[in-house]
Symmetry: C2
Subunit: 201 residues, 2 copies
């Protein structure tokens, strides 16, 4: 989830305008400091509309997580014609690009705080389970198409997908919660992993 | 950080007794629900002692994170005589074992909530930066000793360490915040990574 989202530039409808206001308020105040009133401050349209759509801050944030997941689906269109390795790279870049961008740090931090809600809130856990499953399944699909075309070896796609997902998810989490920047090291090593473990000889 | 800690069985001193009470209260109430009064409920010794040592919940929790880091250092003694691959496996098992254990789920969830504090609190970020650096350096040291002995190829130890750290850290984070159990898949794939990318042919 990177720094350049079309809904931030030009919200297409009311929901996207609400999501933009939520994004901006999350970046500014973090999860703990967020209130519907503060989201309303960043909302360009009628504030009553916002209160009309959502009963609580968490309800709005759950919809926000769901919106970001839809965004992930849209942002990785995965045309069947591309090489599997290129498609994998594109998913890596989606995560690594967000990690590296200075202007997405606030957002990554808010995302980590949102994700931590899942530790004690079943509704957030459900959303992040959906999110993980979606990215995992996307990885599986790409890897299997690579195996089928002979581009990749006959690896266990579920295991590879789990490793890739954990690596990117951990990288984002660490980037947001420590002062060490591992983006470049992870990028290079994932590249080597792809060459030495995935690609057919 | 697994479910079996010696300080839980038999606290060696007052600090360990406080850490045990903190661990139990974290498992029961999570970060958000935690108060010094609730920690005091699990504290076997004088409650005033607890208030005497720590001014706030966060101060106590920062010391707890620091204590867990020391615990990590103690739990991976890394005797120089062992093979590098075995030493790596032991660090993996430290994290994967905690992920798989049912009775450590509450603790992993509390840990993820603690880590999320680092998104907006510099003191927590400093602690988790130390933690990441420590595990990273441990990986680097093991990998370089493996290269030196001819057990591993001449890989870039910093990159490999970053990948391993992100994978384990992401696995723990996902395990605590989603309903998908990827422990076994990650274990198997890390094993294959070690065989195909690290080990000398």
């Amino acid at each position: 989830m990177g720094a350049s989202f079309s809904f931030l530039e030009d919200p297409a409808d009311t929901r996207e305008a609400i999501m933009k206001a939520t994004y901006l308020a999350l970046c500014e105040h973090g999860y703990a400091g967020l209130t519907i009133a503060r989201i309303a401050e960043d909302f360009e349209k009628s504030k009553s509309l916002l209160y009309h759509h959502y009963e609580s801050k968490d309800e709005l944030l759950l919809d926000f997580v769901s919106f970001m997941i839809e965004g992930f689906e849209r942002s990785v269109p995965a045309p069947e014609t591309d090489a599997a390795a290129d498609r994998l790279q594109r998913v890596f870049e989606h995560a690594l690009g967000a990690m590296a961008a200075d202007d997405s740090r606030d957002f990554l931090q808010a995302l980590v705080e949102l994700r931590a809600q899942a530790a004690h809130d079943a509704r957030f856990r459900e959303q992040f389970t959906d999110n993980d499953q979606l990215v995992h399944d996307r990885f599986v699909e790409i890897i299997e198409s690579g195996i089928e075309s002979g581009e990749f070896r006959a690896v266990d796609s579920d295991r590879v997908a789990s490793l890739l997902l954990a690596t990117l998810s951990g990288g984002i989490n660490q980037q947001a919660t420590s002062d060490i920047d591992q983006t470049e090291a992870i990028r290079e090593e994932l590249d080597r992993y792809m060459t030495e473990v995935l690609k057919a000889e």
